[in-house]
Amino acid sequence: MKELLSGNEAIARGAYECGARFAAGYPGTPSTEIMEEFAKYPDVYAEWAPNEKVALETAIGAGLAGARAMAVMKHVGVNVAADPLFTVSYTGTNGALVIITADDPSLHSSQNEQDNRNYAKFAKVPMLEPSSSQEAKDFARLAFEISERFDTPVFLRTTTRLSHSKSIVNIGEPDVREGREGIKINPAKYVMVPMNARARRMEVEKRLGALRDFAETFPENRIEWNSREAGVIASGMAYNYAKEAFPEYSFLKLGMAYPMPDRMIREFAAGVRKLYVVEELDPFIEEHVRTLGIEATGKEIFPAMNEFDPGIIEHAITGIKPESRITPPKIPARPPNLCPGCPHRGLFYVLGKLNAFVSGDIGCYTLSFMEPLMGLHSCICMGASIGMAHGMSRALGDKGRGKVVGVIGDSTFVHSGITPLLNSAYNRSNIVVVICDNRTTAMTGMQDHPATGRTLLGNETVRLDFEKLAAALGIESIRVIDPRKIRETRTALKEELLKEGPSVVISRGACVLLRTGKKEETRKKLRVDADKCTGCGVCLGLGCPPISWKKFESARTSSRGKVQEGTAVIDPALCAGCTLCRQICGAGAIQEAVE
């Protein structure tokens, strides 16, 4: 049976078909759907972990118990999981362990575009790299087989373009696999103290040697001979782009990005007059090819940044840039924005006017750094808001009193905000930490987490209580606010900023996109009374999508003698009725719309 599947759906299907029944991950674009799809299959166990380190450790444990387990994360998630990664490479896996890394060339929805092929080499772990949904499904199976055969974790690397492209896949029947789970005690292999780790270190080298030999005969490393004038070494999506741009060239397609098949590379290089290495991001293959003493053309003509397309490769090789006959008119950009009715909007409207430094984090609310809210002033990685605020407060001393805020979403706080909050309590800084608690992992599409009280498989479970947690960590001042009430929000933040020591403010309001299953309160849409609007533009400062500015044909003079150039307008089709604009309108011009 043929189906049109995304790369992510295909990875989930491949894992399921080959008998994997265990997965742990943390949501992150572009990896999220792998877990969501896998969780839908019968008889699987799949869980959202609080973060990628926990997810990987969970999968390591499952593998050690004999299961075929996978850990799923986006590229920067591997940074979080790097600690166990580098040592599970030594212990091996017993069962099978596949780590999915979903990279994001062009930073479509990430804070950096790191090339995680480097992790394969760094951690001495083999890596497969599919280039289509069919390969994504097939390589998932191969990854589990290689893991078992070589007793090693295996990386399966995807990129946004593979994860979120759909192509045709042959669906197979799931394997019937005997359960091989059981407890094995083997301290020399699994207790990584120096004495044991030194011995395992040698095993890692032996394993890499065996994998190098395996790579030479691995069918997914293949030479496609064609014209000998030029040859291309490529893997992943880059293969497709190069193949489409230059179908007449010969190709060495590497299904295994690490370790590479040296003999095959030598044979291929010797068989073509001109050799290109086409790869997105880092010169990972290119540098290896050069260590073999082979001349190749790579990053001197192909970009080291952003994803490719066939045109980029054609242009790089021919040196001819096609001239566009279109002179594009200058058009307004369309950046993403907080949704109408978003609970973050009220909070960040207030934060932007507090004259404080707002140390931010990763989530929808990061968007509020933009005009007009401008309520967030830094963003590095998951959890960094609190640690950075703490460091800033300590460095500023008295100069920073009442001026440093850290903001972090609920899911992000659970991911990696707890330890820095503990640190702030322990090492006493004067910061206000705002947990933007919208009851879900909104940015990646409404995933549950430990504070929602539900699991990935849809079961009710214990719900993390932020108030109690903050108290247990040593925070003395803890309060909950409703960010849709601007005055209350402003007062609360100002009061907390004046206090000695760290405070926690929980800004609680469910994401407007969250479907809770409960009957939702219907909110009345709002409209602007044109007779009352003074055209001051304060409501525009919310950056709310339904509110726009309508300039008059010619300036008018109001009844109070003030010159007015235009008026605010609310699009009723978009208005969520949150009333923030009504709360800040000094003229009382915003009213409930009559249906």
């Binding site: 043929k2 479509h108 066939p310 566009s324 006959r325 369309r334």
Partner: protein
């Protein structure tokens, strides 16, 4: 069936149902025997940003995205977005434009103007331009949320696929209670 790969580019704003539309188009092409790849970027785009989806089909498709200057049909769900992706079209490419205007933040704030005369600009470069008011047609179909299916209906005139293929795919793509409205929307778009 020609050996060369053909490309459709869908463009618009998050929330307009572009990803669903490109799924339907891809499934129709697939059931007509084409190799198909489609690609989109979501994530941040869900928050009112630009959304694009490439659909490519032919005998054997490698790249899921098109290069600039090779797209056969630009199916634009929002007027301004048409301009943003015009340079993806090939010289004799076709443009289908939904007349809906969704203001980006800078226009809402009064900092920039929503460009005027978009149809004229498009017409200066391309001969095959079809303009429709998909939202109004969707209301005629009985459901304003079927504007994306209206657009598929308009597009269907440019593709060599049997009507029954489209109907079958639309039938499967929606929950039962929404099928009728979407079939109506498709036909209204097709005859628009």
């Amino acid at each position: 069936m020609s050996d060369s790969t053909r490309s459709i580019l869908l463009a618009g704003v998050g929330g307009q149902g572009i990803l669903r539309a490109s799924d339907i188009i891809s499934l129709a092409l697939m059931s007509a025997g084409h190799d198909v790849k489609k690609s989109e970027v979501h994530g941040m785009a869900q928050r009112g940003g630009c959304v694009t989806s490439h659909v490519r089909y032919g005998k054997k498709v490698y790249s899921p995205i098109s290069r600039k200057g090779e797209v056969d049909i630009l199916l634009s769900f929002e007027k301004l977005e048409t301009l943003r992706y015009l340079d993806y079209l090939k010289a004799d490419g076709a443009v289908i434009v939904n007349e809906e205007e969704i203001y980006p933040p800078s226009v809402n704030l009064g900092l920039e103007k929503y460009p005027a005369g978009i149809e004229k600009t498009v017409g200066r470069y391309f001969k095959k331009v079809k303009s429709v008011n998909a939202s109004r047609i969707a209301e005629q179909a009985g459901n304003p949320r079927t504007a994306n299916t209206v657009m598929i209906g308009v597009l269907s005139n440019c593709l060599d696929l049997a009507l029954v293929v489209w109907e079958r795919v639309i039938n499967r793509a929606f929950p039962e209670k929404l099928v009728k409205d979407n079939i109506t929307a498709f036909h209204l778009g097709r005859s628009a």
